[in-house]
């Protein structure tokens, strides 16, 4: 404790902090709680507890686990997020070695280039990639009568679009970890008779693994919840956020959306917890 201000000030400070966390939690609680309200509308009054919005298999209270469009969205989100996190962790790891271990000209400039995607608005990333892909696809079709389907809005473009800025996040996480690595550990292993490949496999990668796992989880979650970039690149295979948005705009708010929200919040919380656990270093005694 750096400062010990007077108690009245400290008390009001505490109240402010408390209120802030109420403010943070309020919409999440509101979104989650109505998943269990036995009513057709997510609003007061409370009509009693139900799990229908998760498990009921018939209209009008079709539960999320029986809603085929929502399930499809969930599936696509899962596929997209898996690809994005694998790809971005791979490139992020390469970037970490590149920026921490290698010397090359204009390194600072390239580092800024690496960070840049994080501050470009997601909408712009989405449209710029859409424009380029469509133009290439159109060009190929006209000039070569090639049908480059993967460059049309769809899963591939969504993955690329999300990958374009999520890689910055994974790179920063893995770079931070690699910077902490004591390079003499590699030399020690090499000195003890290990080959270069073995040093990488048994020393460096195990050291980096927690950061790679955490980066992968972050990438997965950010991909899962992304909306801005995805919106422009999505084809017929709409991921969950897009499906939910559609539902919200067309049908209006229904408690099944609360059920999905609750489900996603729990899922994210669990994944976030895992990412914290893997990143925690072994306890000191």
């Amino acid at each position: 404790m750096a400062i010990k201000p007077n108690t009245a000030f400290l008390a009001s400070y505490r109240i402010y902090v408390g209120l802030f966390f109420v403010f943070l939690a309020a919409p999440l609680v509101a979104a989650g709680v109505f998943a269990f309200n036995d009513s057709l509308f997510p609003s007061l009054p409370w009509q009693g507890f139900t799990l229908d919005w998760f498990f009921n298999d018939s209209e009008p209270k079709l539960g999320m686990f029986h809603d085929r469009r929502l399930l499809r969205g969930l599936y696509y989100s899962f596929v997209i997020a898996s690809f994005v996190s694998l790809l971005s962790v791979f490139v992020g790891t390469c970037n970490a070695f590149l920026f921490v271990r290698c010397k090359f000209p204009a390194k600072d400039f390239f580092y800024i280039m690496m960070v840049l995607p994080l501050v470009i608005p997601g909408v712009i990333l989405g449209i710029s990639i859409l424009l380029l892909a469509s133009n290439i696809a159109n060009g190929a079709e006209e000039a070569l009568s090639l049908d480059l389907d993967f460059l049309r809005p769809g899963i591939v473009l969504v993955v690329l679009g999300q990958f374009s800025f999520i890689t910055t996040i994974t790179s920063l996480v893995i770079i931070a970890r690699l910077r902490k690595f004591d390079a003499s550990m590699e030399e020690a292993a090499y000195n003890l008779g290990a080959s270069r490949a073995r040093v990488l496999r048994t020393i460096t990668l195990p050291f980096l693994f927690p950061a790679m796992a955490a980066a992968g989880i972050v990438a997965f979650l950010v991909s899962f919840e992304n909306f801005n970039t995805t919106l422009f690149l999505v084809g017929s295979e709409a991921p969950l956020t897009i499906t939910m948005y559609d539902r919200m705009v067309k049908v209006g708010s229904t408690p099944v959306l609360n059920a999905v929200s609750f489900f996603l919040m729990i899922g994210s919380a669990l994944l976030a917890l895992v990412s914290i656990l893997v990143q925690r270093d072994k306890p000191q005694t």
């Binding site: 750096a2 400062i3 400070y13 902090v17 802030f20 966390f21 943070l24 939690a25 919409p27 999440l28 609680v29 509101a30 979104a31 109505f34 609003s43 007061l44 490139v91 390469c94 590149l98 290698c102 090359f104 600072d108 800024i112 280039m113 690496m114 840049l116 995607p117 994080l118 501050v119 470009i120 608005p121 997601g122 909408v123 712009i124 990333l125 449209i127 710029s128 990639i129 380029l132 679009g161 990958f163 890689t167 920063l172 979650l221 899962f224 919840e225 909306f227 801005n228 919106l231 422009f232 956020t241 948005y245 919200m248 708010s253 959306l257 609360n258 996603l264 994210s268 994944l271 976030a272």
Partner: protein
């Protein structure tokens, strides 16, 4: 020498993914966007080069008014996020006990793991005419008729602050965390009072975190789409909405590209100005975290 060859080979192998990523997904698309924004459709599959799309933007007040409005509201959100978030970050980094610190920091992060959409949905359930707040007030007898809290600028700003404040708090906590308590104590010891210590010691020290938080928050706000649309309704006049409109509704990609480029240029200009004013660089702020 063989070792040098191996070094060069590994540099090339490591550089390749980076180069492909930046070139194909960042540089080329943006160059392409700029190129397309300079085209003008004069007939089916007929294009002319020119600044027509940009001229359109400046001659149609609704467009540039929207951009100005988006920019100024984003600045307001950034300032609010800083003012509201700084005490929280300071509390987490310096005042809370060791145990509560971690827990509070995690609680700050929770909304980060929840989609914008769900957060906005939560606010809708709270604030709409039949929402929780309105019905609670009615139930308590404070108001007689339901009140619509949604679809006004104050709500949009509140929702945006809510969405982005984490990105302010997280870098602030990490910079303040690195600050030695003894520095603050020395400040008091040498005769400073609360405000002077804050102004002379804490804020200058936290400057990289403040600037980093402000940049990210400003960019995220200016580029946000869901929150203004859902909380502000159809009349929220957010610039990203104009872009979406050009692209999806009017199918005018050329003008959409020009708008996109303008948003990018405008936000970059603001960030650049902010960096110049605060004497920081992109490398010393955002890249650090």
């Amino acid at each position: 020498m063989m070792q040098r060859d191996i070094k060069r080979l590994s540099l090339i192998l490591l550089f390749a993914p980076f180069a492909l990523w930046i070139l194909l997904l960042i540089i080329l698309p943006h160059l392409g966007m700029f190129y397309i924004s300079l085209r003008e459709k004069v007939g089916p599959r007929m294009y002319e080069f020119g600044l027509e799309n940009y001229i359109n933007f400046f001659t149609e007040p609704i467009y540039w008014n929207t951009l100005i409005r988006t920019g100024s509201m984003s600045l307001l959100v950034t300032v609010l996020a800083l003012l509201l978030g700084f005490p929280i970050a300071y509390y987490i980094a310096k005042i809370a006990g060791n145990r509560t610190r971690g827990a509070l920091f995690l609680m700050c992060l929770i909304p980060l793991w929840v989609s914008d959409l769900i957060r906005a949905f939560g606010w809708i359930l709270l604030l709409r005419e039949t929402g929780i707040i309105s019905s609670s007030l009615q139930w308590a007898g404070l108001i007689n008729t339901p009140i619509e809290f949604l679809y006004n600028d104050a709500t949009v700003i509140m929702g945006l602050v809510y969405t982005v404040i984490l990105f302010m708090i997280v870098p602030l906590v990490s910079t303040l965390d690195g600050m030695d308590d003894a520095m603050i104590e020395a400040g008091y010891n040498l005769g400073g009072n609360g405000p002077t210590v804050l102004r002379r010691i804490i804020i200058p020290y936290a400057m990289p975190g403040i600037v980093s938080g402000c940049i990210v928050v400003f960019m995220l706000t200016a580029g946000s789409y869901l929150t203004p649309i859902l909380l502000g309704g159809k009349n929220s006049s957010w610039f990203t909405e104009q872009i979406y409109d050009q692209f999806i509704t009017r199918y005018n990609w050329e003008s959409g590209a020009a708008f996109g480029f303008l948003l990018l240029a405008f936000t970059s200009l603001v960030v650049w100005g902010g960096l110049k004013l605060s004497g920081q660089t992109l490398n010393s702020t955002v890249a650090r975290s």
